[in-house]
Symmetry: C2
Subunit: 234 residues, 2 copies
DNA sequence: CGGCAAAAGTGATCCTACCAATTTTTCTCC
DNA sequence: GGAGAAAAATTGGTAGGATCACTTTTGCCG
């Protein structure tokens, strides 16, 4: 866990670079002028410019490639309007990350309008079917699992919720790898996924939530079995 | 919304600073050696060092104060083990931010052990009492409101949940300012806060949750009245 | 046309010098 | 001796130049 403070757009140079990108309407993938040119265009020193560049690189907004140039990775961040959250999640807070993800995942279900259930069921079934012919190996399973849950998160219509869950899942990388290396756990997960998809097909909101809650509980139990929580919430 | 991507610890200089902090076992609030000294200690140039410093400052790990020094804000971040999550919340996603915050706030209540209810009630009452003598002006009210909810989030024992909620609240700065400028809304909020505190005092979990849910719903209604949601979730 | 080497362009690092804000020390005056 | 102001020292902030390392482009040669 830890901190944030979206206090970042305080940096004058960072802001001026973002404004430059917005003014030129640069698109993702496009190259920015070279450092030596930008220095003239923005009227700043090369050091200050580079410091700001490094911050934007760490944020994932810029992609700096030695020898070839600086490229825009993500477009249109507005320092004045938008907010940036930088969370530092400590490894010994697996339990907290799990709890947050569960809370958001369960809420996502409530947000899905019942009329979308058939479409959700179809998409869920597709990812399950795609896994049929494939040998159940680590990477493919990790991808399937993430995509399965993302379908539901996306159906909630809340992209922020989706992004937070994805970020937290990325934080649980090691744990998930270990989990999906166990044959019994994999089979259980797939059975539970199928059950969730079926519940969507039946159009029963209560059943969906129950099946999803059961899957979350079972997942948590498996993780805690492998990684005993040193200091549980209470 | 936008992206996560915790890819950051790639930076060699950032890592060496973090390792330095870990090696010296520096605690939050402590001062690091001056830039010119660190340059000698880490065997790097001042520019490269500063670039890394700026990244860590943007992440909220360091606090750089012109003229006085560089201070550690958050301790012990381990590049290999821990994860940094960067979220960008767009301004046109007020509705999504509200939804996420509500989901986490409600979950926080479930996480509070009933035996802690009396302590929570006492702390909530203190912030309410502190507001008594004071003229109900904007800033003081914003602070009270944030602290009131943070007491509950803190009581959940989940610091990650607390941090996300705080960040999202910061993102709703404008909306909250407008809201707390309205006398009727302020009085309603304070009444609801008092009711929540009372529910904790009575030790009734269901009552607490009901009162809290009512407060969240009422707050959302007020915000939506002022800022009509262009594209509601559903 | 293809391949290879040179040249140009770009970011990476280091250095020096100086500016700006803060803290500490020193000195003056009462 | 104490208080306050001035001076000095410390610290981060900015600028620019020189050079290294990597990539892309150019152009020569076969």
């Amino acid at each position: 866990m830890q901190v944030p403070g979206s206090a970042f757009a305080e940096n004058k140079n960072v802001r001026s670079i973002l404004e430059f990108i917005a003014r030129r309407e640069l698109q993702p993938g496009q190259r920015l002028p070279s450092e030596r040119e930008l220095v003239k265009l923005l009227g700043t020193g090369r050091n200050s410019l580079r410091e700001a560049m490094k911050v934007l690189e760490a944020m994932g907004i810029l992609d700096i490639r030695h020898g070839s140039g600086i490229f825009l990775r993500k477009a249109g961040f507005q320092p004045g309007q938008d907010a940036a959250i930088w969370l530092v999640v400590h490894k010994n807070e697996i339990c907290n990350a799990l709890t947050v993800r569960e809370a958001l995942d369960l809420r996502a279900i409530d947000l899905i309008p019942p009329r979308d259930y058939p479409a959700v069921e179809r998409r869920l079934q597709e990812t399950l079917d795609a896994l049929e012919g494939v040998a159940p190996v680590g990477e493919a399973l990790l991808d399937h699992d993430l995509e399965f849950h993302n379908i539901i998160r996306r159906a909630s219509g809340n992209e922020l919720l989706l992004n937070i869950c994805v970020a937290l899942t990325g934080n649980l990388y090691d744990e998930r790898r270990v989990l999906f290396g166990r044959k019994d756990r994999v089979e259980l997960s797939l059975r539970e996924h199928a059950q969730i998809a079926r519940a969507f097909g039946q159009g029963d909101a209560a059943l969906v939530k129950q099946a999803y809650a059961a899957h979350l509980a079972s997942t948590r139990a498996s993780i805690e079995a492998v990684y005993p929580i040193p200091d549980a919430n209470h």
